[in-house]
């Protein structure tokens, strides 16, 4: 059994799991990283990295058969031929929708780090204080200053490109040079700056696509192909495969075990410590036990909560961490799919070269400074300007040679942006185990009971109106506001199901991401978020994970865990 014992076990291999493995192995721990899906090797398994539309039988579109096989995934854009197989099968991995919940999962080594949006922003000081000031949910047990050095640390290693814009609302980090705004975006930025008295800003997106190579890590800067989701053979953006996994492997301390579904965390109620995990081998259906001193739970917010709920149920009916009454509650996402769009006159003598894998960002301005609205918190916008291609209005009009030549040229410029809004943590927004429905391994599945509430619905009005107002203030005519349907989960920013806090009675994790009831169990993915901010969350998971890993190693040395 000796080879089944490790210093630490990391459950999950996505953005946060990769960081846990890197940090723990680099500090000398022998680590077992468990991943429920198959292995995907960097570069070698990126079969589609060099393909173009014409290399796919349906030119990268979903077929009706794919829609039948992916009834959830088809609800939004991710279902296509180039990433088929990179999203978990809806049919093999059922869940129950008490209310509609769009759950887009990636079950393979690297998880969604291969498929993420790569936008990388820090939470600001107010984000950590808002719950306490406004009497919402519980207070974060940490402040911006606690996390700032860890943001520095992970940004440097992950390779984030961005501008240092000097805004309190969006703290600057350790950036490589930004990917630039284009000519239209620059002008719109200047006009917005002027029209709103310097209170609203349109800045280059901060993204994990690198503008400088990291030869020491075997990573080459972004080549502007915008094929990130096919796996980048240059290692141009941060993923487990391009960044944290090679670092962890280099130590010689990492064992990666794919096809390993962690069924439960084994708990010693006398010592109040976890002793290991029980794993189902997805290929053989055999069960294994692995033991360790530390366990990092990084299975993504909802599955990390699932694992806790399915553990130590002989001690707590609701599972490990449920003594707070908050495990699985306070589910958050970022609500979006609302914004504005317009054609931009002029700039006929301008175009672009290269496919920039990011756009612009408009940091939050609502309920900021002296602004006060009839809802709490705020939202940011992501967008871009570009010239229209052949799929444009004129396509309806003609046929023939002149028509063909006309649509072979770029059309007019257009600009659009979409708001991403903060969702308040609400106890009633919850997930729980449904034992009546089981997956193919006989394990209970999650039931989702989550909705946006009054605060979000009020915010959405501003999210549309402000987008229209800002483009109009920039002198753009015929601005169209839009709002498409949104269901929780669609933002693919699931958070809050095992929140951090100051009191074991009202939170699942303490200030170092330790489960109050099992201090050698750390949860450092989206589950830990006490509130959601409105910025893309993955960078914060990286920082929380690196910080918690350092803490775990120190506690181990002190023999506290």
């Amino acid at each position: 059994m000796a080879n089944n014992t490790y210093d630490a076990i990391v459950v999950g291999s996505g953005i946060s799991g990769g960081w846990a493995a890197k940090e723990l192995t680099e500090q000398g721990l022998k680590v077992l990283m468990l991943e429920r899906g198959k292995n995907i090797e960097h570069v070698k398994d990126y079969h589609n990295a060099q393909k173009e539309a014409w290399d796919y039988p349906h030119r990268d579109m979903p077929t009706q058969l794919m829609k039948e096989q992916y009834p959830v995934l088809k609800r939004d854009y991710p279902l296509n031929e180039s990433t088929l197989g990179m999203w978990a099968s809806d049919q093999h991995n059922p869940y129950v929708e008490e209310k509609r919940f769009d759950w887009f999962r990636s079950y393979h080594v690297g998880g969604r780090s291969l498929l993420w949006g790569r936008q990388s922003y820090r939470l600001n000081k107010a984000d950590f204080e808002a719950n306490a000031k406004e009497g919402i949910a519980v207070d974060w047990p940490i402040r911006y200053e606690d996390l700032a050095p860890w943001y520095d640390y992970v940004e440097r290693f992950a390779g984030i490109s961005g501008n240092r814009d000097g805004l309190d609302v969006l703290p600057d980090g350790q950036y490589q040079p930004a990917m630039p705004l284009n000519c239209v975006e620059k002008d719109v930025a200047a006009r917005i700056q002027k029209a709103f008295g310097g209170k609203r800003h349109l800045i280059p997106g901060r993204t994990s696509n690198m503008t400088q190579s990291k030869p020491e890590e075997g990573r080459v800067s972004c080549q502007y192909r915008s094929k990130c989701w096919h796996g980048c053979p240059y290692g141009g953006y941060f993923s487990t495969q391009s960044s944290t996994l090679p670092a962890a492997m280099k130590t010689g301390n990492l064992t990666l075990r794919p096809f390993s579904i962690v069924k439960e965390i084994l708990y010693d109620k006398d010592r109040k410590r976890a002793t290991g995990v029980e794993v189902i081998d997805a290929e053989t259906n055999e069960t294994y036990v692995f033991n360790s001193k530390i366990i990092f739970v990084n299975a993504s917010a909802l599955n990390s909560a699932w694992l806790l709920m399915n553990s130590a149920t002989d001690v707590w009916e609701g599972g490990l961490g449920s003594s707070s009454g908050e495990l699985g509650h306070n589910v958050m996402d970022h609500h979006f799919r609302v914004g504005a769009w317009a054609e931009v006159e002029g700039y006929d003598d301008k175009y672009h070269y290269g496919r920039r894998p990011t756009g612009f960002y408009v940091p939050r301005f609502r309920n900021w400074g002296d602004d006060k609205r009839d809802y709490l918190r705020g939202f940011g916008y992501q967008g871009s300007a570009s010239r229209q291609g052949w799929r444009r209005e004129v396509a309806e009009l003609g046929i023939g040679g002149e028509f063909k030549d006309a649509i072979s040229e770029p059309g007019s410029w257009q600009i659009g942006m979409t708001a991403f809004g903060e969702m308040l943590p609400e106890h009633s927004n919850r997930i729980y185990l449904n034992h009546k429905v089981t997956d193919k391994w006989g394990l209970p599945v999650l039931a989702m009971d989550v909705e946006i509430k009054e605060n979000e619905i009020r915010m959405r009005k501003d999210m549309q109106q402000d987008a229209v107002a800002m483009f109009e203030a920039a002198g753009i005519k015929n601005v169209q506001g839009y709002e498409a349907d949104y269901a929780p989960g669609m933002g693919i920013h699931e958070m809050g199901t095992a929140r951090m806090g100051r009191d074991p009675k009202t939170s699942v994790l303490n200030a170092h991401n330790q489960v109050w009831d099992a201090p050698n169990v750390y949860v450092t993915d989206g589950a830990a978020m006490t509130s959601g901010s409105c910025v893309n969350p993955s960078l914060t998971y990286m920082a929380l994970t690196a910080r918690a890993a350092r803490h775990a190693v120190e506690e181990l040395k002190r023999r506290n865990i």
């Binding site: 039988p57 349906h58 579109m61 009706q64 031929e81």
Partner: protein, 204 residues
């Protein structure tokens, strides 16, 4: 029942589509042979001729050079709903029927000018029809966007033909490299590139 529908039903009933499914990654999707579609070689040839009228050779290659018919067949077979596919096929047949009615001979025997005249008429009828029932978006829409079971009105049949023609052409290698501009590895971004009328759009 069409062969593919039958296959789908068998797969769903027996679960054969699921066997071996857990070991996925970036999938290697094999080409779809014409024999897996409900279209024949003659259908493909006919689609190529129709498409060439919509997007003819100019200074740059036209639809036939890109063999869009073969791709139209595969997309219509797999990405269209059954109702769309029926409408599409009817649209192809209607072209021949109209050719005989207006010019007294099948479409393939029409002169180049006659073909253009006929399809211009059909395109105008389609525009009017779509405007009336709010389906003008179809030509800009992705051919895969229609949901099964939806009761949204179908656009004019010629619009489906045109939609597939445009999509198959501009996503083809010929369309991307010889009609539009394509650079596999741009290497940098310039958001302020000078442009003069006549310069082609980027393919991707």
């Amino acid at each position: 029942m069409e062969r593919r529908d039958l296959l789908k039903m068998i797969m769903l009933a027996t679960g054969t589509a699921m066997v071996g499914a857990p070991a996925l990654g970036y999938e290697k999707i094999p080409p779809v042979p014409l024999s897996d579609t409900p279209f024949s070689k003659d259908d493909v040839a006919f689609m190529n001729e129709v498409a060439e009228v919509i997007l003819p050779q100019t200074d740059t290659p036209g639809a036939k050079a890109a063999n869009v018919g073969a791709t139209m067949a595969v997309i219509a077979a797999d990405c269209y709903t059954k109702a769309q596919r029926k409408q599409f096929r009817q649209g192809l047949q209607d072209i021949d029927i109209r050719a005989k009615a207006d010019f007294g001979k099948p479409f393939l025997l029409l002169s180049s000018d006659e073909r253009t005249a006929l399809l211009t008429t059909l395109n105008e009828e389609a525009l009017a029809f779509n405007a009336k029932q709010g389906t003008t978006y179809v030509v800009r829409d992705k051919p895969s966007s229609r949901e099964p079971g939806t009761d949204l009105p179908l656009p004019h049949a010629f619009s489906l033909i045109k939609q597939l023609t445009l999509y198959a052409f501009f996503t083809s290698e010929t369309g991307a490299k010889k009609v539009l501009r394509y650079v596999a590895v741009p290497g940098y971004y310039d958001g302020d590139l000078p442009y003069k009328k006549g310069d082609k759009a980027w393919a991707t």
